[in-house]
């Protein structure tokens, strides 16, 4: 009996001394929500992945590290979901992390990319990756997660939009062109002259391509919003911002492709049929806030805005209704940036 008591006491001590692993961050819903990339500081290596869950209305931070036991990398810039996988482009680490979109477990890492920025999925087997520094777009083989080739654009690249058999790639840093590539033979087939530094692009419900040109980093030119007809590669509409001080970025569109959104000292919205740029903000940026990226819920058009604060401490994710009414605000990682909406279906 004495021994039994001793063993029981010993077991209690052992059990009480055993640190329970903290899985609190892993208890996120596997349902619908938003994957948010936190860029972290350049060369700080503190980029991370967050998930906002529709089910719990909570945000879960640092998930890539918690799931995979290592850092996501230096400046994760963009994320795209295709099938059961999500592709995270990690700019200054020169890689793409391929993760399971539900469990977030790493499936593959594609290395050897030069300053990759965005990924455009062509089909189940092929994707293009733009580059801030290289003159070529990398072609990825999504079957074995390798780089299968390059397309020489003779200029750097940024946003990628796939329209049928064509791929439109913007030449952002110091550029003023949209390169048109045939997705069938991976050749440059045309280029379209636009405004200075085409930064972001979206496709509307009529298949028209909208391009936001920010006018240059020092605002030496007027920013422009341009509508392009993809079948003819021709410009159909050009809206010039009224002052050089305008600094629009991050062009987005709602789920039905009817309303455009972009950042310009706050969030502005514009119907695709409008002939003028919006004069007022849908959502005002308050003092102390620094709106960095936006994302539009494709189902209900809720507006998700990231706030980078001072680009050093953890930023915030704020959610607004389509009318711009504040819903909630929660802390994300350092410099929360690109978002990708994970629909409940198949999630």
């Amino acid at each position: 009996m004495k021994n039994l008591v001793k063993i029981t006491v010993l077991l209690l001590i052992v059990v009480s001394c055993t640190k329970t692993p903290d899985f609190s961050n892993l208890h996120y819903s596997f349902g619908g929500g938003v994957l948010i990339l936190n860029e972290g500081n350049f060369r700080g290596g503190n980029g991370s992945l967050s998930f906002y869950s529709y089910d719990s209305s909570k945000i879960f931070n640092d998930l890539f590290y918690n799931v995979n036991g290592r850092s996501l990398g230096d400046v994760p810039n963009s994320i795209v979901i295709k099938g059961d996988k999500a592709y995270i482009v990690v700019n200054n680490s020169g890689k793409i992390e391929v993760i399971d979109k539900a469990s977030l477990e790493s499936r593959a890492t594609i290395r050897g990319l030069i300053s990759p920025r965005n990924i455009g999925i062509i089909n189940d087997n092929k994707a293009y990756v733009s580059s801030l520094y290289s003159d070529s777009v990398a072609i990825l083989n999504l079957t074995d997660f390798s780089i299968s080739g390059y397309i020489n654009l003779r200029r750097t690249s940024e946003a990628i939009t796939v329209v049928g058999g064509k791929v439109f790639i913007s030449n952002w840093a110091g550029g003023k062109e949209i390169m048109v590539i045939s997705a069938i033979n991976d050749k440059v087939v045309d280029s379209i002259k636009v405004g200075i530094e085409p930064e972001s692009m979206v496709l509307d419900r009529f298949g028209k391509l909208w391009v936001l040109c920010n006018g240059g980093w020092a605002r030496q030119n007027y920013a422009e919003l341009i509508e392009i007809n993809p079948p003819t590669n021709s410009i159909e509409k050009t809206l010039v911002f009224p002052t050089k001080d305008a600094s629009p970025s991050c062009l987005s569109i709602d789920g039905i492709g009817q309303t455009l959104y972009f950042l310009d000292n706050g969030v502005r919205e514009m119907d695709i049929g409008s002939g003028v740029l919006p004069l007022t903000h849908l959502i005002e940026q308050k003092p102390g806030e620094y709106f960095y990226k936006i994302g539009i819920n494709p189902v209900n058009s809720d507006v998700f805005v990231t706030d980078a604060v001072d680009f050093a401490q953890q930023g915030y994710l704020s959610i607004y209704t389509p009318k711009g009414t504040f819903i909630s605000k929660m802390k994300a990682g350092i410099i929360p940036g690109s978002m990708c909406f994970k629909l409940r279906i198949n999630s």
Partner: protein
């Protein structure tokens, strides 16, 4: 910060038999600036420095002081942090003239060869104001000075070590009691291709080899000294260059092919005249600094050239029996040519400093007032007051206290870099206070004890930080305040008996440097420890010598350092051990010295800056030959 000073190390222990075999000469100088009472100042003497003649200043400070060195690794940039302040708050002076880059406002200690320096004085906090303005954290003054004798001395020092490291150093000294010439030259190349464990690249840690990490440095210094009576005239010329590849972080791939070329040419003319207890000094220094940075991948070709002319004159004169008045006028003119500014920029700063030092019986007092004229605008005057009390008469037991207001004008990059430079920046300034106790006691013929303890507090206002501006690019602004408080202490025991010598030293510092006063609502960094400032630092060393043999052991502990402003992530602390052993063989009046050392004895995997690995265990062999005639 705790500094171990004046104590020989690593086999260069000053013993009776050494003195016989190698005629060591006491180096003395008639300095115009006597030490102000009430301030903490430490000295690293020439015997310690001679052990590091093939090393750079960051390596020497790291192992011999508690000044925190933030290093990108072998060959990479290394900057100092005094008492929780930043690199730009530390001045590096060369014979009292600031050599920090006017563009960056800081010095890269990895580019300064210790072999070029004869003496190092470390001025903590307010003590730095006796030399220059802007050293909020402190000043490290590098001295080159003559030894007045008739000896001709040639020293050759060569080393070879792990990771493709080769170094050579030569010093030739000649002259007599009126003229001295000293020439020093060095060359160093390091492949720095060490292996490290990368646990960030995949699910399992991977051993990798550091690439694009080569460093090639060379330089020389020529000194000429003329003495006539009590007056000394000197001319110095210091050239050096460093060509280095910059490795990527552990998270970055492929290597971006970054490269940096640093080149500097420093010239100095100095005249010191002494008459009784009075003295007059004049120094003129012209310096050129080139820093070119290339990034093949990002197509960056950054070319930066700065020229500065410093004219500094001062006199010191007794007022009555116990008081000295010192007046110093300092004019600095800077011209910057770079493709990162809109156009060539010039700046002129004039500083007038007046100080009174009174020492009577056991009490000492210093009062210092400074006025700065920067770009034709008078700034709010700085001041410092120090008090000193000798606890026991005729014994070296001191209580010291001081308070200071010290300003730092913005760097040229802060004001004129495109994009983001802000010409309207205000000065940073600090209000600092310090209380310290120092004792230096010879216990017996063979035992010597030194001890010091300091408590300090800094409050830094209008700190300049870069943050995102209106058009998405970063801009400099006086955004916040910060404070730093701490305790530092050091002790050393010297034991000498017959042919045996030993020295045990230990130092500890606790620094709480926190961010405050932010313009951001709910700023989570307020009240948190500043990034990359360790709260705890500890170092210790034991040196022993017996006849011709010597050996030493050093251990350096750096506590955890936060790498996010909210203190949510940090780099773990580390303890690095090194050992060294050698033999010094006398050859008439000359000598030959062989030594072997192992750094990072226990092969610790560690980082000073996140994701920039530092080398594991490494080996070095050095041979020092000294001819004396």
């Amino acid at each position: 910060m705790v500094v171990f000073h004046s104590l020989p190390l690593n086999g260069q222990l000053s013993t009776d038999y050494d003195t016989i075999k190698i005629r060591e000469v006491v180096i003395s100088t008639n300095k115009p600036n006597s030490d102000p009472a009430g301030y903490k100042k430490a000295t690293i003497d020439s015997t310690v420095l001679s052990n590091y003649s093939n090393s750079n200043l960051s390596e020497m400070l790291l192992e011999n002081t508690n000044i925190f060195i933030k290093s990108y690794g072998m060959g990479g940039t290394a900057t100092p942090a005094f008492r929780g302040t930043g690199a730009s708050h530390t001045l590096i002076d060369w014979n009292g003239i600031n050599i920090n880059s006017p563009m960056l406002g800081q010095s890269d200690l990895s580019l300064i060869p210790v072999g070029f320096i004869d003496d190092i004085q470390i001025y903590f906090g307010g003590a730095s104001m006796s030399l220059n303005n802007g050293g909020i954290g402190g000043t490290i003054n590098l001295e080159t000075k003559p030894v007045w004798n008739k000896e001709t001395q040639i020293s050759l020092n060569s080393g070879i070590g792990s990771f493709g490291r080769y170094s050579g150093f030569i010093k030739v000294k000649a002259g007599n009691y009126r003229i001295q010439t000293v020439t020093k030259g060095f060359y160093q190349y390091a492949e720095n291709n060490f292996r490290y464990l990368n646990n960030e690249i995949g699910i399992e840690p991977v051993w990798q080899t550091r690439t694009n990490n080569q460093v090639r440095q060379h330089g020389f210094i020529q000194e000429l000294y003329f003495r006539r009576g009590n007056n000394i005239t000197s001319a110095r010329l210091w050239y050096q260059s460093a060509d280095r590849n910059l490795p990527a972080s552990m998270l970055t791939s492929p290597n971006s092919g970054e490269r940096q070329f640093d080149e500097s040419l420093r010239t100095m003319l100095n005249y010191n005249a002494f008459k009784g207890n009075s003295n007059f000094s004049f120094t003129g220094a012209w310096m050129l600094n080139r820093l070119n940075y290339f990034n093949r991948l990002a197509s960056i070709d950054s070319r930066n050239l700065s020229e500065s002319l410093t004219l500094k004159t001062g006199f010191e004169n007794p007022i009555g029996e116990f008081t000295k008045l010192k007046i110093v006028l300092d004019e600095l003119s800077v011209i910057i040519k770079t493709n990162n500014y809109d156009h060539k920029i010039a700046r002129s700063t004039t500083t007038l400093t007046a100080s009174l030092v009174r020492e009577k019986e056991r009490f000492g007092t210093t009062i210092l007032v400074r006025e700065i004229l920067d770009r034709q605008t008078f700034l709010i005057p700085d001041f410092s007051v120090g008090l000193q009390f000798r606890v026991i008469d005729e014994k070296e037991y001191f209580l010291k206290a001081n308070i200071s207001r010290n300003s730092k004008i913005p760097t040229m990059n802060d004001m004129f870099w495109v994009p983001g430079g802000n010409p309207d920046l205000k000065n940073e300034y600090s209000l600092s206070s310090e209380i310290s106790y120092e004792m230096n006691q010879k216990i017996s013929k063979s035992l010597h004890l030194k001890y010091d303890l300091s408590v300090f507090h800094y409050s830094i206002k209008d700190m300049i930080l870069w943050h995102p501006g209106e058009f998405s690019y970063w801009t400099a602004d006086n955004t916040r305040n910060a404070s730093s408080s701490g305790v530092e202490s050091s002790a050393s025991v010297d034991f000498v008996r017959n042919h045996f010598t030993s020295c045990l030293k230990a130092g500890y510092s606790f620094t709480r440097a926190i961010g405050g006063g932010s313009k951001i609502e709910n700023d989570v960094s307020v009240g948190k420890q500043l990034m990359y400032i360790p709260e705890n630092q500890f170092n210790t060393s034991l040196s022993c010598g017996y006849e011709n043999l010597y050996s030493s052991w050093t251990a350096n502990f750096i506590g955890k350092r936060y790498i996010t402003v909210d203190n949510s992530k940090y780099l773990s602390g580390y303890l690095i051990n090194s050992i060294k052993t050698g033999i010094k063989l006398p050859l008439k009046r000359s000598s030959i010295d062989f030594n072997f050392n192992i750094d990072n004895l226990f092969n610790i995997n560690y980082q000073s800056i996140a994701y920039y690995p530092l080398p594991g265990r490494s080996y070095n062999i050095k041979v020092l030959v000294q001819f004396v005639k």
